[in-house]
Amino acid sequence: MGLDFSVVPEFSDFILIGALYTFGITLAGAFLSFFGGIAFSVIMLYGHWSIRYPIRFFSWLFMGTPLLLQLFLIYFGLVQIGIDIPAVVAGIIGLGLHFAVYNSDIIQAGILAVDKGQHEGARTLGMSRLQTFRYVIIPQAVRDVVPPIGNNMIALLKDSALVSVIGVTELVHASQLAISETFRPFEFYITAAVLYYAINLIMETGLRRVERKIEASR
């Protein structure tokens, strides 16, 4: 029995919607993981211990346990204490926080690597601590860590398949449903792989554009 991709078009809308879910969840998760990463890194470096320690505990939780378990905790666990989050949102939160913790580590290193003279340059102009941080330190720290953060974003895209286990019909789950009707796993899994590759290309293009812009200012 050879490969027969003629079964795929019948399910194309279904598969494409799955791909859109994957793309949307990835974008939202990436957004959350980026700004969450900045927030965590600032707290870890400069926060009062009363807020730093809880964040450190969450870091440990999100780095030391499987993402799968974290998704179960957020979606099935929190319901038990009355926090009912829709599956898609739970997936975004889980992915976002998981990768925010990794991004935070990278951004912390980036902040510490910014030259001390930058701080002095801004402060002697009369800029406040906060303004200096917002307009001088953070932009340079982030700029220096774009490549490793980009890698995390790609990893986030691939791990977004895990949200299928809490019932989100993203690309992998959609493919499985199509397979269960047609019994043609190879065709649909290859289709899914091609679509992942396409999303990857979109993200890499965006990332390269950011990197080029940064390169211009070096």
């Binding site: 930058q118 002095e120 340059g121 002697t124 102009l125 009369g126 800029m127 406040s128 932009p139 070096r218």
Partner: protein
Amino acid sequence: MTSTTPFIEVRDAHKSYGQLEVLKGIDLSVDKGQIVAIIGPSGSGKSTLLRAINELDPLDKGEVWLEGMQVNKPLSPRAYEQHINMVRQQIGMVFQHFNLFPHLSVLENITMAPKLLKNLSDEDARDLAERQLKKVGMLDRIDYYPSKLSGGQKQRVAIARALAMEPKVMLFDEATSALDPELVEEVNLVMKQLAEEHMTMIIVTHEMGFAEDVANRILFMDGGVVVEEGPPEVIFHSPSNERTQGFLSKHLQGRNP
């Protein structure tokens, strides 16, 4: 404030780093429009004194005054932050290593602080930047990033950035020490031009020729104290103190008397 109040005054400045006493009770007063050059061997405390004036390196003991207002007022942390930001807007500073913001263009380097702190519109800020860049001869590089500039050009932009806040005094902390010899002159020229415009300046420098040219007054520091001070012709040609003589004889070698 009476007319006898100096423009800038430092009283009995003390500062230590651990066991090392860097400033051992320094007094300094500078009149409006005066140009003071501080010279002395490395580790004499001259940069520390300069950095105490805008509280980059706060004094352990002593007072700093600017136009009858105390710079290092004892305040609550929140009030101090507000106070010092307001004071620093009036004190321009130029560093040895320029400290330009590498992620911003020349234009943005200059307009950022005026826009944030004086609520200047984009247009007004651009006008201001163009005016200052013209003054330092860098208008044609307005859209460049610092990485594309030479050291001398960077320092001129850094001077323009400080001037854009319209400070009452400019502090120069070895502004040409990091430059290749052939780039020193273009920065010195800008500083001379400021001197001609009667900008009040305090200049820490290793360049005796420039200090003699541009300053009204020379301070020779050694070991955390002011050893000798006076007009350049006295300090450079007939210093009375032995340490000054020793220091200058090393530094003026090869120059005609």
